[in-house]
Amino acid sequence: MTEQKNSRSHDLLLVIGGEAGQGLVTIGQLLCRALVLEGYEIVVVQSYHSRIRGGHNTFSIRVATSPVEAAATRIDLLVALTEETVAAHRPELAEKALVLVDEAWKLEGEKLLAVPFAGLGAEKVFNVAAFGVLACLLGLQRGRLEALLDKTFGRKHAALLQENLQAFGRGYDWAQKNGAAFEPLAQAPQDRGPRMVMNGNEAIALGALAAGAKFASFYPMTPATSILLTIIAHADAMGLVVEQAEDEIAALNMALGAAFAGAPALVATSGGGFALMTEAVSLAGMTETPVVVIVAQRPGPATGLPTRTEQGDLEFVLHGGHGEFARLVLAPGSVESCFELTRRAFFLAEEYQTPCFVLTDQYLADSYRAVPPFSVEGLEPVRPGSDPRSVSGTYERYAITGDGVSPRLLPGLSTHLVVADSDEHTSDGHITEDLSVRAEMVRKRLRKLEGIRRQWLAPEYDGPAAPQQLLVCWGSCRGAVREAARHLRQAGKTVATLCFEQVWPLVEERILPVLEQAGEVVCVEGNATGQFARLLRRETGFAMHRTVLRYDGLAITPDYIVDRLQASG
């Protein structure tokens, strides 16, 4: 542990642990909303087993009075909905931690606050009674929380609301009398304005809607499914067609059919599903059909750890699909970026008529944060296809052009005929085995990379020039890396960070000087083999001095990085 919290009430970690089905996500989400309404910042980590009932799941909320962008590891307040939770998390408890347990378990030991749950309500509302206790311990306003419960349960059932309000009130009252052992949270600034409680997947869904997506297809797969569920919830209002396909092969082929016919389209999946999609990725490259593919990573190989996190599919997404063609891979490092980069992916996919990827992972997918509402001011949707009036003479779908991008007419919207082919084809789209045409078409398709490179999203550099240590990362571990750098700076080192949100293509001549000016360059990523470090070496010739890797299914945290850097020197 490197971080010394001067006053833990400004930055604490609250963990709710229990079995699937005990309602811990419900109270977790309620707490998030309550905390954000009161002006706090949050970072949520959800860890769950691949099952619907039982197992051991946690919903962790890091609460702070000032902005935070990474998960914490020392638990200040643990809510144990099962006995197993207490034992499982004891090693992670901070010195002054408090553990809420059920009095009925008759546990003895330090740091325990035994709550008489049986007296607070029926077993099915234990979670809400615990929410009441927590709310009081944290010093949250009672009235605001009751209004929140009303909003959550009121719509469903009046009786249900009453039972929950009662359990909440009893929990709150009990804590007021018995729970003084915990120092409440310091008040957060009240001038933060309205903020959303949003996770990465919801932001990706809204980014797609903001881009004017009109078609989505999917086959359910954790941790990507909630992207589609969010889109489906708003599909009628926003005018989308969403279809659950028979498999991932169909999902991407369907999206390509829709995109060919003009609908801005996306699919979302995880590694195993993406494996099935790869032939169609190549089809998108060959037919020059725009499509956005979201890959939410989880640990493999094969089924791996279906509900945990990893950044193990970078190389897979870089190379998935046979043959050579232009692609673009974006990897958001925050909830805000999930929105922005998904939007961007739609525009780039359309501009270059090629597949664009958004690479996220379970940690970011499920991580709720307090985010200022996205502005729709001045937003424009993607404009699919080219204007038929710009075509003179016979239309050629794959006309050879200087930038490799051909006019893309949409079938049925003019009298021109649009011919797309997965075989090598002549400029009018028809199958050919003329090898000089082949060579010319390969060059045309790959020329698109030059334009994509010109619109490169440069990595974000933060810290002093020529630092002793440069921490390099990509995607979701951005927050952890930036916070780790702050800790290291406090310890007297000059440290900078370089966070990539576009991982392909890379513009090597703009990366190499940044790497060369640092004393030691460390690549931090969530996989076992250092895939991004290897990619950077391949593209720039620069070998990282060290790597900090994580592949146990958990998210990279600032402590994890600092501990490893200090341990090895």
Partner: protein, 285 residues
């Protein structure tokens, strides 16, 4: 007035005598009979000799991956319900590699037409068994004969409630033109399995073999009778009757379930409502 010559004549990569020629000819005539201009049509195919057919007539074309014509056709139809979408490929592509999509397409019942070149053999890969090859059919890949039973697409389609199920034969042009035209006009998913010889690799199912078996259904055949249709589809051996085996009008089509498709406006022409989006964003605060 559309004429079948409007669809053009092209040089093909097919063997002389291939059943594909008869199918292509009938398809052009059926399209003309339906009064469809080339730009109103989208032909979606997979891979194989049959799947090259869309290159040999004037229309919009998406020639995709082996086995995947139906998902592409589904996406395109949903994106632009005004298009006449025809998925067209061989028996290996539709029933083998694309088998799961075939079942899913029959379940969905979009207003699309499925034309299958069924020659009981793989042509482009030089003569291996296909899903419809008869048990015992000998090839270089199956030297002791095919062990598995053949797939019966018509019986499967009838059993799944597909509202238009027909069998055609390239050697009976008039009936085939009529059958394809009816399938295109039918509102819902229409399956036409088209028997045809492969003159290079199938020396069992020859023109003579088909001529003996592919006779029109009786004049008084009742295509609205499900039980009869299923029995007829299950017939094998010396009778492979051609015509509409089963037809059921008035089935709800898949597209109708989407409010945004009610007016058949292509999705790409629908506006993006940023006031709605702002309200959605607001709901997260």
């Amino acid at each position: 007035m559309v004429d079948s010559r409007d669809y053009g004549e092209f040089e093909t990569a097919w063997c002389p005598g291939c059943g594909n020629f008869g199918l292509l000819r009938a398809l052009k005539r059926a399209l003309a009979a339906c009064g469809l201009e080339p730009h109103q049509i989208l032909l979606v195919s997979g891979i194989g000799q049959a799947a090259k057919a869309p290159h040999y007539l004037r229309a919009n074309v998406f020639n995709g991956l082996h086995g995947r014509s139906l998902p592409v056709a589904t996406g395109a139809k949903l994106a632009n319900p005004g298009l006449t979408v025809i998925a067209e490929s061989g028996d290996g592509c539709m029933y083998g590699e694309g088998g799961n999509h075939f079942l899913a397409a029959l379940r969905r019942n979009l207003d699309i037409t499925i034309l299958v070149h069924d020659n009981q053999v793989y042509g482009l890969t030089k003569g291996q068994a296909s899903p419809t090859s008869a048990a015992g059919f000998v090839t270089k890949a199956q030297p002791r004969g095919v062990f598995a039973n053949p797939f019966n697409p018509l019986a499967v389609a009838v059993a799944m409630g597909c509202g238009f199920v027909g069998r055609g034969y390239v050697g009976r042009q008039d009936e085939l033109i009529e059958l394809i035209a009816r399938a295109i006009r039918y509102r819902g998913t229409a399956l036409v399995d088209i028997q045809q010889p492969c003159v290079s690799f199938n020396h069992l199912n020859t023109y003579d073999w088909y001529n003996a078996r592919c006779q029109p259904l009786a004049d008084d055949y009742d295509a609205g009778n499900f039980d009869l249709a299923l029995r007829t589809a299950l017939e094998s051996g010396f009778r492979l009757p051609v015509g509409v085996l089963y037809e059921k009008e008035g089935q709800a089509v898949f597209e109708d379930n989407f409010a945004v498709l009610k007016e058949k406006t292509p999705l790409c022409q629908r506006p993006t409502d940023y006031r709605q989006l702002a309200a959605i964003i607001e709901s997260y605060t």
